[in-house]
Symmetry: C2
Subunit: 329 residues, 2 copies
Amino acid sequence: MCSPGVRVPKGVAPDCFRLEEAPAPAAGAGQVLIRVLWLSCDPAMRGWIAEGPNYSEPVPLGGVMRSFTLGRVEASDHPDYPVGVYVLGRQGWQNWAISDGSDIDRIVDPEQGPLSANLHLFGMTGLTAYLGLSDVGRPKPGETVVVSTAAGAVGALVGQIAGILGCRTVGITGSPEKVADCLDRYGYDAALNYKDYETAEALADACPAGVDIYYDMTAGWISDAVMGQINLGARVVLVGTMALPSGPPPVGPRYSRQMLVKRATMTGFLVLDHFDRLEEAVTALAAWYREGRLQYREDVTEGLERAPLALMTLLDGSNRGKVLVKLAE
Amino acid sequence: MCSPGVRVPKGVAPDCFRLEEAPAPAAGAGQVLIRVLWLSCDPAMRGWIAEGPNYSEPVPLGGVMRSFTLGRVEASDHPDYPVGVYVLGRQGWQNWAISDGSDIDRIVDPEQGPLSANLHLFGMTGLTAYLGLSDVGRPKPGETVVVSTAAGAVGALVGQIAGILGCRTVGITGSPEKVADCLDRYGYDAALNYKDYETAEALADACPAGVDIYYDMTAGWISDAVMGQINLGARVVLVGTMALPSGPPPVGPRYSRQMLVKRATMTGFLVLDHFDRLEEAVTALAAWYREGRLQYREDVTEGLERAPLALMTLLDGSNRGKVLVKLAE
């Protein structure tokens, strides 16, 4: 029950993907042709290609792998997207894409920061970190915030934002290198390698005043140690379940009495519900970024054919930063 | 894992209690002498006498069993509590009690309704049902509300209030007689005997539009069937854990992915945190009561020496209504 185990879902491997070549498509009436420059690799992709209930439709067998993307409009018959604008969208794993605008989320300003940052800091990652922590976690100065996958793209932001807001921050992550990133780069007050601890003692030592907010991206056995330390009125922001296998729910300790005794709240948070607040989050994050208070790390892989390998580094936890695939300048 | 099993906590039995006789106490300076008329038996008592973390201090071995009580002041040297007033308090399992007022919660109006109703409808029970459902559950007309221990003192009220508010109500309870009470007396749209079903199918049939609010007083395996049926944005009001054994958390299915996919919220609710809103709740409940829209059932046992037996009927689920012990008129 408490073994780290294999976190890549059974059956998800590079050979699940096939590279297909086809003539470059042309934009028709009301359409744009997009040169995809960057692909984002996200934990949610695991759910999109796994069996079982998910908040999104699964990617059909034989379909283009779904992905958040940043691209440039190269040809246009759409008044909202003229040639030369950069767009965030969901063009998927392909070098060129035709769009009628329905899979474009917004135009991005290339002056705001590095283009790729729109796929994390100024995008879903930033929104997930900012809203999940502020709206659901409701941090108060002096509270203790624990973050699982603390050195990941979302987690690193959560830890830094919580620190900016005056909280004690404790990160749980999966390698000595990531522990070092947590402490040296992201400013966590304490950081633990979950592969090193078999009991909750290390966590308890890192949280002498207990846990007020748990920003949970793993669930499962990694969370068990945290749930034992929660304070009265704790808020659990449930953002991911990376430590749970696909398929039917595995068994683990039932937290119900702890949740009741502590009058805790657990809330499933999905950023897709909160797109309308992206500008608010980006405004706050951009201000902190300009002040030099937000650090991030990117793991960049080049070439469409290597996208499956990049995704694997995210799913097996060997990445150190936001996993991106660069397709073109 | 899914067996109803024995719900009385190991070691809690009538012979855990001892009847002691002593000379009638006398009120000293600043004190009142209270004739205890009614004892309330509540699920929380299980936690008060069980090992393990609880939101209240355990009752010490050899101490007077803690209990909510209704009594009459028989002698007084306290300006707030003159002779003859009826008081709700925490005088415990005794016929006579001395109080300095610190364990008196409020003076009750004997004209408002039956005296004993202050121990449920106009007391903690009513407050638990009213606030847990309205504040945490936030019911909207047409939503489906599932209640576990649906025919119990709190559950019966939750079901009736949810019905008054225009929800579809589905009760889970533990005997054919309680199912009949749910349907005939408390107006549930559907009711299930959990001892009859081994799968979630019966519940799914009773909730064709899924579950929007789960008012959960059992947790454990009874809740497993409900968690599989929750809708997007579901609210789980966690009020009790009657189906969990005392001691370390047992194992069961991990709900994390379901909570995330459904963006559900689970909140531990303890009425002790909300005493300040008792008058608000009693005002709402008293209005519905006067309109004849709230039914309740009392299981009355007479005599202090039979209090442990009365408690057992609550803990083993054989009660049909609010369990009370009557000590005097």
